[in-house]
Amino acid sequence: MDTELVIRAQRGDEEAFTSLAVAVGDRLHAVAHRILRDIDLAEDATQQALLSVWRDLPQLRDPARFDAWSYRLLVRACYAEARRTRRWAPNLRLLPADEPMGADGMSLVIDRDQLERGFRRLSIDHRAVVVLHHYLDLPLSEVAEALGVPQGTVRSRLHHAMRGLRAALDADARPTRREGSQ
């Protein structure tokens, strides 16, 4: 990130912030969508995160750390969205409809479905670690900085999350209780 742009926006330069928002908006939105698994929630979370960036920018001590700091604000916004929109039905299931089949064909579709289920069972904490590490390719130290937690906590969450996702994938290989009883 252009630290000069960050510094100008910190000083209240709205034009600089506009450039900053354009530069980071797509990435924040992509991360929010992958954490929340819902396009509307992701848009709301990104919007809130960008407003928080503007509001709290003067409190960012090191402009060079803008990226990690913005991810932290985004994850907070994801928490808020997830809580605000919690419904009587807290475990929505998203089917992989209309998505193109990959090289592995049907098995990939099944993987997606299973991953979607497994991922939705994870807390926002765990989802954020998976997305920041495996989607953004951030090393664990930077994930820890972004989330404001110790690196050991990140490692633990990642282990737990990946174990859950593996279990979801493995579940596909055996019949469910209902399928088995029919």
Partner: protein
């Protein structure tokens, strides 16, 4: 899946799919708000703490902070307001009362989905008592309203993935309160019964038994050491509405009953007189796929919740109610 590397590869590939562009309208909404959104200045810390270079002053502030924390702790560490550490046990115990560190439902804010098995409690000033209970694995937490603290309809629900419902299960147990009982559940906007029906468990049970289209059976029960009345409500074919609301809570949440179904379904409302108020425990102790789940795409199955019923009853058995 053969190895961790395979899992990582699949997860990474899956994460690569999805939206990557923020719609212009969202960006425009943000930028439109910027002129009216003041920035928070960082000068607060800079102005307040240059004195921290002085060791004595720093020690004095630290000591004052410790003293203040101790005073606050003394003030608020009553049984009703304390905040136990979120350390749910790995497996549910038979009695929540004997658990050393039950987990406040309100502290489960980071885990909005699956609740770990363990001992939990709900303790809010709007409720007449603290409620402790033990949860097995695989249950989920829901609360109505915008914040958990302001909610008066807290529910523990089973996982809808077991039944294939895309909209959630709506099957479980809820702790709630009654403000108004609707005169006609099919027409909640049409008016409420007299306020006196909310004054006792017996009065509520009687009121719930007066709806012609929603037959009720009543039995005396004891839950958490408190005796009360449980009313089971079914739906007669004469009920024409799809959605029927029984009552509203003080926070304004409308509590709906089961919709039309070809399977035997029912709502149970347990009313307990606790310290001059009535605590309501709603349950869905029936084995069939609920109408809510069927509406969400689940296949009707008369035995869908047989296993869940066993767990639900164990949760009810574990309840301990502690009035303030």
């Amino acid at each position: 899946v053969s190895s961790d590397r395979d899992v990582t590869r699949i997860v990474r590939s899956w994460l690569d799919e999805g939206v990557n562009v923020l719609p212009d309208r969202v960006l425009d909404l943000v930028l439109d708000q910027i002129p009216a959104t003041p920035q928070r200045r960082a000068g607060w810390l800079a102005r307040r703490f240059p004195v921290m270079n002085n060791t004595f002053v720093r020690f004095g502030i630290a000591a004052a902070a410790v003293l203040l924390a101790a005073l606050i702790g003394f003030q608020f560490l009553s049984p009703n307001v304390g905040t136990p550490q979120p350390t749910p046990s790995a497996s549910p115990s038979s009695s929540a009362a004997t658990a050393a560190s039950p987990w406040s439902l309100l502290d489960a804010s980071e885990d909005i989905y699956l609740l770990p098995a363990g001992d939990y409690y709900l303790d809010l000033p709007t409720y007449p008592a603290r409620i402790d209970f033990a949860l097995p694995d695989g249950w989920w937490y829901y609360s109505s309203g915008t914040t958990r603290e302001a909610s008066d309809a807290h529910a523990i629900l089973v996982d809808s993935l077991d039944t294939g419902a895309a909209n959630g299960s709506g099957w479980g147990v809820s702790f709630t309160l009654v403000a108004e009982v609707f005169a006609d559940p099919c027409n909640p906007s049409g008016g409420s019964m007299d306020a006196s029906v909310t004054e006792s468990a017996d009065a509520l049970a009687t009121a719930f038994g007066t709806w012609p289209d929603f037959p009720a059976t009543v039995e005396d029960v004891t839950v958490g050491g408190f005796s009360g009345t449980r009313v089971e409500i079914t739906r007669a074919e004469t009920a024409t509405c799809l959605r029927a609301a029984a009552f509203s809570t003080p926070a304004g949440y409308r509590f709906e009953m089961q919709g039309p179904s070809s399977l035997p379904v029912a709502d149970q409302f347990t009313f307990l007189d606790v310290d001059g108020s009535v605590l309501v425990i709603w349950t869905t102790d029936f084995s069939a796929t609920s109408p809510f789940e069927v509406a969400g795409g689940a296949s009707p199955d008369p035995d869908a919740h047989v296993g869940d019923q066993v767990e639900l009853r164990s949760i009810l058995d574990s309840i301990v109610i502690t009035p303030r």
